[in-house]
C-alpha cells in the first residue's frame, strides 16, 4: 500500500508530476474555449473579408452602368408578369367559352395532314383537270371517295386530341370535310363559320391582350441594347484590372522559353496589353447615361398604352378563372404604374461616378432582397429573403411546439401517474434522437403529399393558404421542426417545473386550491423563467436546423408574397442554413460567394449565441425572484 501511494519528487521545468497531470487535464478543458474562439475566428476572418470585396463588386456594378440597366430589367420583369397574367386569362377564356369552335378549327387542321400527304396525287389530278369538265367530275368523285375514307377511318382521339368536340359537331365536321376544296385550300363553310364566331367573340379581348403585350416594346428594345453595353463594359473593366498581372505572367513565362520564335511572340503578346491608370468608365457608359431620356419616354409610352389596353379588357367573361386573373391584372395595374414612376426617378439619379459608401454596400447585404449567384449579369447577395425564410419557419415551429411541449411538461410533471411519467419522459427524449435527415425525408414523401391532399378538401378552404400550390413549403417544414423542438422545450420545461419547491404546491393545496389551480397559479408562474428559457432555446435549436429545411422548405429564394396574407405559410422559401448546405460544396475558396456563405454562417452563429446568452440571463434574472 505504501508503495502504491508513494510520492515522486522529480520535477520537469519546475513543475512536479502532479502539476503536469493537472495541466494535462486543464489543457483539455481549455480546448473548449479554444474551439469556440477558433469557430469565431474562422467565421469572422472569412466573413469580414466579404465586405470589401462586395463593395468593389458593387462599385463596378455602378460604374459599368449595370446598376442603371438593372432598373430597366426589373421594370420589364414586373411588366411581363402583367402580360403573362393577361395571356393566361385569354387562353383560359378561349378554352372555356369557345372550346367547341376551337375544337372544330383544330380538328379541321388535324384532318389536313393525312389528306394532303396521302392525297397528293388526287389533288394534282384535280388541278390538272381544271379545264376538262369530264375529268374534273371524275377527279372530284375520286377525291370525295378518298376524303370520306380518310374521315371515316380517322381516330377521333388523334384528331380532336383535347376532346373538345361533342358527338354532333364531330359528325358535322366529318360531313363538312367532304366540301373541303384542296385546290383553293378553302376550309368548308362549317369550319369558317366556327372560326369566325371565335374571332368575333374574342376580338375585343385579343386586341386588348395584344396591346398589352406590345406596350413595352420600346422598353424591351432599350433593355436589350443597354444590357449588351453594360455587360461589355463590366467584362472589359474586370479584364483590365488583371491586365498588369497577366502581362507580368506572360513576360515571366517568356523568360523560361527556349524556342526563340515562340518567345518573341509571347513578348509581343505581353506588350500588346496596355496598362492604363484608370478605366475610362465615363466614355464607355456615355451611351447609357444618354439613354435616360429614352428610358423616360419608353416608360411613359408603356404607361399610356398599358392604361388604354387595361381599360379595354373585357369585364364580363364566362370563365371564372379568367375573370379572376383579369381582376388581378386590374388590381396590379395602378400600383405598377406608381412603382414605375418611382423606379424611373430612382434610375435617373444614377451616375457612374457617384460615390458608394462602404456602409451602404454592407447594408445591401443585410437588407438586399435578391440572392442570385453564378449569373452572367451580376451576382446579388441579399440576406433578407433567407433571413425571413428562416425566421418564418422557426416561428411556425415554435407556435406549434410551445403549447404541446408545455402542456406535456405540465401533464408529465404534475398530473400523470407514476408509470406514465417513467414511460413518457424517455419516449419524448427518443424523439430528439430522430435524425433530421429522416424527418426531412418523411416531409418529402409523406407529410408533403398528406398536407396537399388535406388542403384540397373543400371544408378546409378557410385555412389561410389552402389549397396549397406547392408540396414543399414553410408550413411543412415548420410542422416537422415543431416536432424537433418539442423534446428540447419539454425537457427544459419539465426541469423548471421540477425545480419549484415542494412547499409551494403544498401550501397552495393546503389552502384549498385544486391541482389545476395550483399548477396554473403557483407552479407555472414560479417556473416561468425556466419555461421562457426553454422556449428560447427551442427557437435556437430550430433556427439552426439544416437538413429538414434543406429538404422540405422548397428552396425558392424570394421574399414572401404578402398579398396572400397569412397564406404566406404555404409558400416555398429558402433559409440561411439551407443556402449554406446547398451552395457550400460548389464554391471555390476565397471567392465572393464563398465568403458570403461564411457571412451567413456568422449571422447564424451570432443569433444562436445571442439566444443562448439571453436564455442564461433570463434564468439568472428571473430565477431568484
Amino acid at each position: 500500500m505504501a508503495k502504491h501511494f508513494q510520492r515522486t519528487g522529480r520535477k520537469l521545468l519546475g513543475i512536479d508530476r502532479q502539476g503536469w497531470i493537472k495541466g494535462f487535464f486543464g489543457g483539455n478543458a481549455t480546448l473548449s474555449i479554444i474551439i469556440l474562439f477558433l469557430i469565431c475566428f474562422f467565421l469572422i476572418t472569412e466573413a469580414v473579408r466579404f465586405f470589401p470585396q462586395h463593395h468593389e463588386k458593387l462599385q463596378l456594378h455602378r460604374k459599368s452602368g449595370q446598376e442603371y440597366v438593372n432598373h430597366i430589367i426589373t421594370e420589364m420583369n414586373e411588366y411581363s408578369q402583367l402580360v403573362s397574367l393577361t395571356n393566361q386569362a385569354y387562353f383560359q377564356e378561349l378554352n372555356e367559352k369557345y372550346a367547341l369552335q376551337r375544337g372544330i378549327s383544330n380538328s379541321f387542321e388535324a384532318f389536313l395532314d393525312p389528306l394532303e400527304d396521302d392525297g397528293e396525287d388526287l389533288i394534282e389530278a384535280l388541278e390538272d383537270a381544271e379545264d376538262d369538265p369530264e375529268a374534273l367530275a371524275q377527279a372530284q368523285a375520286d377525291w370525295r371517295a378518298f376524303v370520306s375514307g380518310v374521315v371515316e377511318g380517322a381516330n377521333r382521339a388523334d384528331i380532336d386530341s383535347f376532346g373538345r368536340l361533342d358527338d354532333a359537331s364531330w359528325a358535322a365536321l366529318k360531313k363538312a370535310m367532304i366540301d373541303y376544296d384542296p385546290v383553293e385550300e378553302e376550309p368548308p363553310a362549317y369550319v369558317t363559320q366556327a372560326q369566325q364566331e371565335l374571332r368575333d367573340g374574342m376580338a375585343r379581348f385579343e386586341e386588348a391582350k395584344n396591346e398589352i403585350s406590345s406596350a413595352g416594346r420600346e422598353l424591351k428594345q432599350l433593355r436589350q441594347k443597354l444590357v449588351k453595353i453594360a455587360s461589355k463594359v463590366k467584362d472589359d473593366a474586370a479584364a483590365e484590372e488583371s491586365a498588369a498581372e497577366r502581362k507580368k505572367a506572360l513576360l515571366a513565362g517568356a523568360e523560361t522559353m527556349t524556342n526563340e520564335a515562340e518567345k518573341a511572340a509571347q513578348i509581343e503578346q505581353a506588350n500588346a496589353i496596355v496598362i492604363r491608370d484608370e478605366f475610362p468608365f465615363a466614355a464607355r457608359t456615355e451611351e447609357i447615361a444618354a439613354s435616360k431620356d429614352a428610358h423616360k419616354a419608353a416608360v411613359a409610352e408603356l404607361k399610356e398604352k398599358l392604361g388604354i389596353a387595361v381599360a379595354k379588357l373585357p369585364t364580363e367573361l364566362s370563365s371564372e378563372e379568367a375573370s379572376a386573373l383579369l381582376d388581378q391584372v386590374r388590381k396590379a395595374h395602378p400600383p405598377f404604374v406608381k412603382w414605375l414612376d418611382e423606379s424611373v426617378a430612382k434610375a435617373s439619379t444614377w451616375q457612374w461616378d457617384r460615390k458608394l459608401s462602404f456602409f451602404g454596400s454592407a447594408m445591401k447585404f443585410f437588407f438586399g432582397v435578391d440572392w442570385v449567384t453564378n449569373s452572367s449579369w451580376h451576382d446579388f447577395y441579399g440576406l433578407l429573403p433567407l433571413f425571413i425564410g428562416s425566421f418564418e419557419i422557426s416561428l411556425i415551429a415554435i407556435m406549434f411546439a410551445v403549447p404541446f411541449s408545455i402542456g406535456a411538461a405540465i401533464y408529465v410533471n404534475r398530473l400523470a401517474g407514476r408509470w406514465e411519467q417513467t414511460l413518457i419522459k424517455p419516449a419524448i427524449e427518443l424523439i430528439q434522437a430522430i435524425p433530421s435527415v429522416v424527418l426531412g425525408f418523411f416531409g418529402i414523401v409523406v407529410l408533403g403529399e398528406g398536407l396537399r391532399d388535406l388542403s384540397q378538401i373543400e371544408a378546409l378552404s378557410w385555412v389561410p393558404g389552402f389549397p396549397m400550390q406547392e408540396r414543399l413549403n414553410v408550413l411543412n417544414a415548420g410542422l416537422l421542426l415543431a416536432l424537433m423542438a418539442v423534446p428540447t422545450i419539454f425537457t427544459l420545461c419539465e426541469d423548471a417545473l421540477n425545480n419549484v419547491p415542494r412547499a409551494y404546491s403544498e401550501a397552495s393545496l393546503a389552502l384549498g386550491a385544486s391541482k389545476l389551480q395550483t399548477v396554473i397559479k403557483v407552479i407555472v408562474p414560479t417556473a416561468i423563467s425556466g419555461i421562457l428559457a426553454a422556449v428560447l432555446l427551442g427557437f435556437g435549436r430550430v433556427i439552426g436546423e439544416t437538413m429538414v429545411v434543406l429538404l422540405v422548405a422548397g428552396n425558392k429564394i424570394a421574399l414572401p408574397d404578402w398579398s396572400a396574407g397569412l397564406g404566406v405559410i404555404t409558400q416555398p422559401t429558402h433559409t440561411m442554413t439551407g443556402i449554406i448546405a446547398q451552395e457550400m460544396g460548389e464554391v471555390t475558396k476565397g471567392t465572393l460567394h464563398f465568403r458570403a456563405l461564411f457571412l451567413v454562417g456568422l449571422v447564424l452563429f451570432t443569433i444562436s449565441l445571442c439566444i443562448n446568452v439571453a436564455a442564461q440571463r433570463i434564468i439568472k434574472r428571473l430565477g431568484h425572484a
Binding site: F25, A408, A427, E429, I434, S436, V486, E545
Partner: protein, 384 residues
Amino acid sequence: MLEESKNPFVASSNRQKIIDRVWSVIFAGFTYFVLACALFIFGKITYDGAPVLFQAEAPFINFDFLFTSPQTLVEFRDGAGELVRMDASDFRSFKEENPDAVIRDEHTFSYSGGGILGPLVGTALLVIVCMIVSLFIGVSAAVYLNEYAHHGKLVGAIRLAIMNLAGVPSIVYGLFGFAFFCLAPWFPVLTYEVNPETSVFAFKVPMSKGFLSFEGWGNSLIAGGLTLAVMALPVIIAACEESLKAVPKGFREASLALGATKWQMIRTAVLPYATPGMLTASVLGVTRVAGETAPIMFTAAVADKAKLPWQEAEGSPLFWFSDLLTQSVQALPYHIYTVSARIPDADAVRDMRYGSVFVFLLLVMGFAMISIVMRARFRSKLKW
C-alpha cells in the same frame, strides 16, 4: 358574515372538479398527440422500409442490402414487356451473356441499386474517429472541471464556452470544419504525390518514397470525424461530469487520507466508479453525432465511391493509415439526402430510399434507446 364563510376543508366544488378533469385530459391529449406523431413516423418508415431489409424466407435478413455498396440501378422492359430492374454491374454482364435480348425503355437511377455497405462503413468510421477524439478530450475536461478546478474565472469561462458550444447550429460546425480541417494548410498528410496547388510545405520522409506534405486534409474521414468530435464535446463533457459527480465525496477523502496523491486518488478511487457513467456518455455522444448530416456534408461525405476506404488506401502501413484517414467516405445520412433530394422521384428508387432510412433510423434509435436505458440504470444504481 359568519354564515358566508365556509369550512376551508370541504372538497372543492363540482364545477372546479370538472374543469380540472377537462384540463388534465387536454394536457394528456397534447402529450399523447406528440407521441402519436412520433409513432406514426416510425410506423410509416418501418412499414415501408422493413420489407427491404427483411425477407420471408431464411435467413430472413436481406444481407445483399447490407453487404453491397450502392450503385446505379437500371430499369427496362424485356421482350415480353415485363418490367425488370437490375444493378448496373448485373446489367452489363446480362447484356454480354444475352447479346440479342430485347431491352426497351431503359432508364438509369444513380445510387439506387445495390445496398448500403459503403455508407454504413463510412458512418461507422466517422463515428469511431469522432468518439476516440471526443472521449479523450471530453473525459479529461470533465476530470479537470470536477476534480481539479476551483470556482475561478477560467472555470467559469470554460463552462460558458461549453454551454455556448452546445447551442451552435450544426451547419456552423460544418463551416468551421471545412475552413479549419479541410482548407487550412497546417495539417500534414503522408503522401506519395504532393498536391502542388494546396501544399505550402513538403519534405521527403527518410527511408521511404513518400513525402510529408502540409496541404490540409481536404474532404476526408479525419476532417469529418474531428468536426463531429467538436460537436459531441459539450454532450460528452456534461455526461462525464454527471458521472464523476455521482462518485461520493467520501471515496476521495478516504483515498487522500490514506496518503494518495491527487492523481492516484482520481485513478483508483474516482475513475473506476465513474466508468459506467462514461460509457453512457459515449453512447449519448454516438447518438448525437451519428444522425448528423450538415457537419459532414462538405467535410467528409461523397455520394459515390467505388471501393471501401481500406480497399482504396495503399502504401506502407504508415502511409496506408494516413491515406485511409484522408479519404472521403460515403455516409448513411448523406446517402439518404442524396437519394431523397438529389435524384428524381420514381418507383425504382423507393426501395433504396425506405431501406436506407429504415436501417439508419434503426441504428440511431437503437443507440438512443441504449443510452436512455443505461442512464436510467446508472442513475438508479449509483446511489451510494
